[in-house]
């Protein structure tokens, strides 16, 4: 039985992403400049992590944090442990680099198989750098497990199945999923806790497991740049916006009149 009587073995996937430290707008293009020198945990993953910890507190078991990335992604894993995760695994190796979402979800799913007896994988809705939202579902497909995406609420949780609310553009639904399963969560599910001092101290001492492609036993044809079906062929800056800002700073009714004129020239009202 996975994880033993009623206990849950939960894997939370986290990604280290470029942080946003300050906002500035490029005067030439009127586009955002992101002076992203810092790094941080993908914001959506903080909700995935908190949900894993909440479920462990309810059912017992363990929360294992899984991340693929460069060596420094260890920091994000330690931060997760400071918040309450039990252990962490970093997937790191040169041949893993350059993987697209197909290859990444394959590599992560191999790690879940290697961990063994996992009841639940929780991911954030998407990472804020790539913005694809494809890795969670990709893992579900590689593992051949059911998925529940865009989870906004845990209605009921038992050790064998979960009752969940999903949110979509035109409404929401309530669903039941048998475990093991893969979930992707929205920020509505919980309010992430802040690391305790004890957690911080503990996170410095814990050994982070590091697995490379050999440890994972991945098919060399399915990983990295070479194993990725998609390839980025070019990148460019977004088109510049109109540089000119019309500033209206008269009284409210003057500004409103002026704005309505502009609106009517642009859209049907």
């Amino acid at each position: 039985m996975p994880g033993g009587q009623n206990k849950m073995k939960i894997v939370v996937c986290v990604k280290q992403v470029p942080g946003t430290t300050e906002v500035s707008i490029d005067p030439e293009t009127k586009r955002l400049k992101r002076e992203g020198v810092s790094i941080e945990m993908n914001p959506f993953d903080t909700y995935a992590l908190e949900q894993g910890i909440l479920l462990r507190e309810k059912h017992g078991g363990e929360v294992i944090v899984l991340s693929m990335g460069p060596q420094r992604a260890e920091l994000t894993i330690r931060e997760s442990i400071a918040c309450g995760a039990d252990s962490g695994i970093l997937l790191n190796g040169r041949p893993l680099g350059g993987s697209d979402t197909y290859a990444t979800s394959y590599i992560l799913s191999q790690a879940v198989k290697k961990i063994g007896d996992v009841d639940l994988v929780i991911c954030g809705k998407q990472a804020v750098d790539g913005d694809t939202a494809q890795v969670g579902p990709g893992m579900a497909a590689h593992l051949n497990w059911p998925q529940v995406t865009y989870v906004s609420r845990f209605v009921e949780s038992g050790p064998k199945e979960l009752k969940l609310e999903r949110m979509h553009e035109s409404g929401s639904d309530i669903s039941l999923v048998e475990l093991p399963a893969v979930l992707t969560v929205l920020k509505d599910v919980n309010i992430p806790r802040i690391p305790t001092l004890k957690g911080r101290l503990n996170s410095r001492k814990v050994d982070i497991t590091i697995w490379n492609e050999i440890d994972l036993g991945t098919d060399p044809e399915k990983i990295g740049l070479g194993g990725s079906p998609t390839r980025v062929v070019s990148t460019r800056k977004p088109d510049a916006r109109d540089k000119h800002t019309i500033v209206l700073n008269g009284n409210a009714s003057e500004s409103a009149r002026e704005l309505v004129k502009i609106l009517k020239s642009r859209i049907e009202l």
Binding site: L32, G138, P146, P229, L248, A256
Partner: protein, 341 residues
């Protein structure tokens, strides 16, 4: 699956649109996709490419007609009670099986929550690549490959992506980017009916009930041409009333910043930005929004940005096309009044 050149040239053609049904109707994004699918198929005429719409759901009788009017050459309908609710497991099994059977060269879907849940499952099941949330699609003149363009890093980089050796080439496409072509009621096409197999209905996932926002279009930010958004300057849940009134006047949706959601003034479904939705309406009216980067990345690609703020130096005022310096509680009701007359 990975293929060699002969296999690709020999067996894969047609541009498929994965249709979406919302509240018993064909979703607007499906019609937009048929428009771009027509262009792509015409550019792949050398391959005798057809536009095919795959429509799945329950109670779809007669819906093919409208899809033919919008340029579909062929409609494949899968009409089954098991498809009444969106069940990722059932839907993906059916789509993957039909792809293997008919071998489309290109498969596109709306980058809606359903599209973005279903397509990555299908892509892995049939071993091909998928590009998320595209804002541009074209055919490379030399190679005949699909060029998929998408923003990343919060819209700060635009990347063009190819899928060379795997078929179909798959993309989810952002709503509102492409235009539906004019409906032509003289067009007809071929209707194919497919079924859901019994084993495909046995899943470990079940949707129990569904709740629709129904006519409350103020929540559906993706469908809206105009979004009126409130930030911290709105001050309270009651303060959002003026935002709702302006949204009514422009028949738009109501957006909000993270701060207002965290304060409990409005629900999460309205959140625009990094941990909410990315939107690209024709007009975005930001009221009392300072313009934190986490909000700006969710709306900076809007066609026309209007900001109303007391602080002329707020970041949103620099990004805006029209910056109104003033108290939103004075300016916004004035705008609503003028538009309502």
């Amino acid at each position: 699956m990975k293929l060699n050149e002969t296999e690709i040239a020999d067996s894969y053609n047609d541009v498929w649109v994965l249709g979406e049904i919302v509240d018993g109707q064909v979703h607007k994004v499906t019609l937009e996709l048929l428009g771009i699918a027509r262009e792509l198929a015409d550019k792949r005429a050398v391959n005798n490419s057809k536009v095919v719409c795959l429509l799945m759901g329950s109670g779809l009788k007669g819906m093919e007609t409208g899809l033919f009017y919008q340029s579909a050459d062929r409609v494949i309908i899968v009409d089954d009670e098991s498809l009444k609710f969106f069940n990722d497991s059932v839907y993906s099994s059916v789509v993957s099986r039909l792809i293997k059977k008919y071998k489309p060269e290109i498969l596109i879907s709306g980058a809606t929550s359903k599209g973005r849940s279903l397509m990555p499952l299908v892509a892995v099941q049939i071993e091909t690549g998928l590009t998320a949330d595209c804002t541009g699609l074209d055919i490379d003149k030399e190679s005949g490959l699909l060029l998929q363009t998408r923003p990343a890093y919060g819209g700060n980089i635009i990347a063009t992506i190819k899928c060379e050796n795997h078929r179909p080439q798959m993309s989810t496409v952002r709503q509102g980017v492409f235009k539906a072509i004019e409906s032509d009621d003289t067009r007809t096409g071929e209707l194919i009916v497919e079924n859901v197999l019994e084993e495909e209905k046995k899943t470990r996932f079940t949707v129990l009930s569904e709740e629709s926002y129904g006519d409350d279009s103020k929540i559906n930010l993706h469908d809206a041409n105009v979004i009126v958004s409130g930030g911290r300057g709105v001050k309270s849940a009651e303060g959002f009333e003026v935002i709702h009134q302006l949204a009514n006047a422009v028949e738009g949706a109501v957006g909000a910043t993270r701060a207002t959601i965290d304060s409990g003034w409005i629900s999460y479904a309205h959140q625009v930005g990094q941990t909410g939705l990315t939107v690209q309406p024709e007009v975005y009216i930001a009221c009392g929004v300072s313009g934190q980067i986490q909000h700006l990345v969710g709306m900076q690609s809007s066609d026309l940005i209007i900001a109303i703020n007391k602080d002329p130096d707020a970041p949103i005022m620099q990004l805006a096309d029209v910056a109104i310096v003033g108290d939103l509680f004075e300016v916004v009701p004035e705008i609503t009044k003028l538009l309502s007359n």
